[in-house]
Symmetry: C2
Subunit: 517 residues, 2 copies
């Protein structure tokens, strides 16, 4: 960017948290609603979510899953059947206690028709889906049962942030039942792989795959696996989780099957989910001080065409040229859909229009004025380059090349994000280095204040001591994000045993420590 002025104030360096809110707002992605903690997802933000759904849904179906839909409400008694599960969610449940309104004292409406048993608005659906699975599964022939649901869920949150943590959010939750522990484990890892692939190839967001430590496990799970992405403030974002639930929920909900030999056995189950949080992840991976940068695979639209119409004598000709351009572009395909084009012929200043699309992060902007029409070319700006860095391209070549241009932008975003992460992953072998790495240069330590961006992912050995995790969390607000799987190329000695620099305990492998959302 040659222009010193940025479209977003403050910049990332000035105040990262506030920058994030301003990008969400300037890009028309979402806004807060009059309902505490709930967001309104605006059309541009929803467009990203639609593409996320389309991409994931295709991958779920390709791996044999079917969609279904289960009730929004969960009877309190269901939640109570799995002790750790209810303990994990009790503090954040929206509870329906009445089923009508009536005029109370003074004519004000008040809740009436008290329910015999309160209903919880689903914070997740293991219990209600488990109860249904118990009916669906009779014999080993009914297994594996591979179900996914797209739904809204509610977890009452005290401090919310658009997309990252909201009281209501949208997600998908996969729930599967299997005859053996091995198959359920395979499913858990398969879906972790699907999430990682989606994050990298659709969101252009590199992720580390790994297992959570006991303290960070999903309530009721035997193992929780996750994908963790590095945001531009170098904090980790847990972007998706896949849980091996063992027989815990099968026992709580009595999901049983008859095996070959006629014995009744409990199933082994899994669950896995990603949410609208992914949009927050895409923002914090790609957006810059001029606003959102949409990866083309999930961009609500790929190209905006802006006719320059202020001269009445050429307006019709320019308009005609643009209409044809739009039609030609829409016949091309990228990422499994037709190229999506916005024609922006609004009668406002060209500069304002351009900046609006820059802030929204549309991958490609095309301006067409009378001179472009005369020369049969278009004036093209790319969101992955500087706003003023535009190029004149013959219209035929531009249309022909749109798919490869979008593919190049997509790949460039992933490469850039990978390079950023590489730069901020640090192999650490001493306590002092660890504390230095995570301590703000200014030393404030208050996460909410706009301290300088610092730290990153520390790869350090860890002997598995929960007390140590607690201490580091309280000292630095840093936690073990995951125990990474081998083969991800995070460092030279990945998967090699060593010694915990804090306790001297032996450690099977380095783990990823980071601050997190």
């Amino acid at each position: 960017m040659s222009d010193a002025r940025t479209a977003i104030t403050p910049t990332r360096a000035e105040n990262y948290a506030e920058w994030y809110q301003q990008v969400v707002r300037a890009a028309d992605l979402a806004e807060t609603s009059p309902v505490r903690g709930c967001m309104v997802i605006k059309p541009w933000g929803w467009g990203i979510w639609e593409n996320i759904q389309r991409g994931l849904d295709g991958m779920f179906k390709a791996t044999g899953h079917k969609n279904a839909y289960f009730p929004l409400f969960i009877p309190l008694s269901f939640l109570e059947k799995e002790a750790k599960h209810v303990e994990g969610f009790a503090k954040e449940c929206a509870v329906v206690t009445h089923h009508r309104l009536e005029a109370g004292p003074g004519g004000k409406l008040v809740p009436a028709g008290e329910l015999e048993e309160p209903l919880v608005v689903r914070p997740t659906s293991e219990t209600i889906i488990g109860a249904t699975f118990a009916k669906w599964v009779q014999s080993h022939r009914d297994l594996p049962l591979l179900i996914n649901q797209w739904a809204n869920v509610v977890r009452w949150e005290m401090r919310t942030r658009l997309f990252l943590r909201t009281t209501e959010f949208l997600w998908q939750e996969g729930h599967t039942a299997h005859a053996t522990a091995e198959e359920a484990r395979e499913e858990t890892m398969r879906m972790l792989g699907v999430y990682a692939e989606f994050a990298e190839h659709w969101l252009a967001m590199p992720v580390v795959r790994g297992e959570k430590t006991a303290g960070e496990r999903f309530p009721g799970a035997v193992e929780t696996w996750c994908i963790e992405a590095m945001m531009q403030d170098r904090k980790a974002l847990q972007a998706g989780t896949s849980h091996f639930l063992g027989q815990n929920f099968a026992k709580a909900q009595e999901i049983q099957f008859q095996d070959d030999a006629g014995r009744r056995e409990f199933c082994w189950t899994t669950s896995w989910g990603v949410s609208t949080r992914l949009i927050g992840g895409a923002i914090m991976t790609h957006a810059d001080d001029d606003g959102m940068v949409c990866p083309p695979m999930v961009a609500p639209a790929h190209v905006v065409v802006q006719p320059v119409l202020h001269k009445p004598e050429t307006a019709a000709e320019v308009r005609g040229f643009c209409d044809k351009l739009v039609a030609d572009l829409r016949r091309r395909h990228y990422g499994g859909r037709a190229v999506e084009v916005e024609l922006d012929a609004r009668d406002i200043r060209g500069g304002d229009k351009t900046w609006q699309w820059v802030k929204r992060g549309i991958p490609v902007r095309v301006e067409v004025g009378p001179r472009d029409v005369a020369s049969g070319s278009v004036f093209v700006g790319r969101r992955d380059k500087g706003v003023k860095e535009k190029q004149s391209i013959p219209v035929g070549a531009f249309v022909e090349g749109i798919e490869s241009m979008l593919a190049e932008i997509q790949q460039g975003l992933l490469d850039r994000a990978r390079a950023f992460r590489r730069e901020h992953v640090r192999v650490i072998d001493s306590k002092d280095d660890f504390y230095d790495f995570f301590r703000a240069p200014g030393g404030a330590g208050d996460d909410a204040a706009p301290t300088p961006i610092h730290g990153g992912f520390a790869l350090a050995h860890f002997g598995g001591d929960p007390a140590l995790e607690e201490r580091i969390k309280s000292d630095l607000a840093v936690t073990v994000r995951c125990i990474p799987l081998d083969g991800q190329g995070l460092c030279a000695d990945e998967g090699t045993p060593g010694t915990c620099p804090f306790t001297g305990r032996s450690s099977p492998r380095r783990v990823v420590w980071a601050k997190s959302y």
Copy 2:
């Protein structure tokens, strides 16, 4: 059907209401859940809903609408702003009053953290979306604002029936704001037209378009328009509504804009919705005594291929033939998507397998045994014909012709439904004829009991007297379903004035009277 045995017991003629429940169950469409009034939509039923969503969403986008998402919860105070609206919904609201659970007396979990203001789970979203529109609309340049949301809604129902009336249901709700009453009225009618077109061309369900009388209006609307379909028990199903809201909600929510002259004006708004009820409509339009019949446009899958594998020496060859057949079919397209094929190689009796697919209503069934492979043909059954009426077709011709076969089935279902409706629309000009038409031959009059199917749509003149509507409702459980638009070919003298046979009042046109869901 030459076979006297039917797959569904009871038959439509024996007990229509019970037949419906059995079809929903036998076709694996949905089931009741442990949560009173809420349903579980099973994968096959969800597949129909996915296609309904795909079809409508395309039509909404083609008419300039954008999707967005608004909160699940509505503050009680919002609902109260439009007096008629809250009055209409107060009796069926699920109310959230607490935001956590804690251990109560005896250790049982009880609701805690009482909310200052109760939240209603949205029964519809005019108020919360209106509050957001008030922020989005400033100037006439922001209009029209054309928004749609796909969401779940909750209306507490005492008597529920799967798909037709459930406490939680899924729907889309369109909400638009306009500068003039005329534009808002045009939008209301445009979306009514979209619904009618979708019902006829996707669901193969003919509908009557018309306006509701005052008593059946949406709470808070100025005009409510609807599409009404005739089910096989000759009752009407309200399948979609489009409301002209005037300035009622704009005034309640302060949705204002500045016009050209700088004056602040209230917007004119509309809302319109269809729901999972459409699936119930498709069932009751097409299903027969052997189960569901899916219109190909919304069928979760178009073709099932059943290899006959019991002879080990030919199994591999049959399997190979089928794999190629499946791959070839999947390369064909119908109704805007690839032909969807299920390969059913389960090791169960062929007859059981066939009947399962018949009950689910898959449009085309293909059996392939060793002799078919030898002759290069397939054995094809169509759901719109008798179960035993199968035909051997050379495999190449079958694959080549799959699109036209599906189109023929789709058209045939619509033609049949149209013929059925024509047969049961009656032009009536006397009170006695009217009462005879709607009185059960047995005379029971209790809607819940399995009385013989009778009646239909009566086209009678109506002077607009609400007291008459009340009387006929109480006598016969018959209501004015709509005041039909002209040009629908319902009867020879449509749109011609006449005299109400009950009151002698003058009537501008015949209206549609019927029993209804």
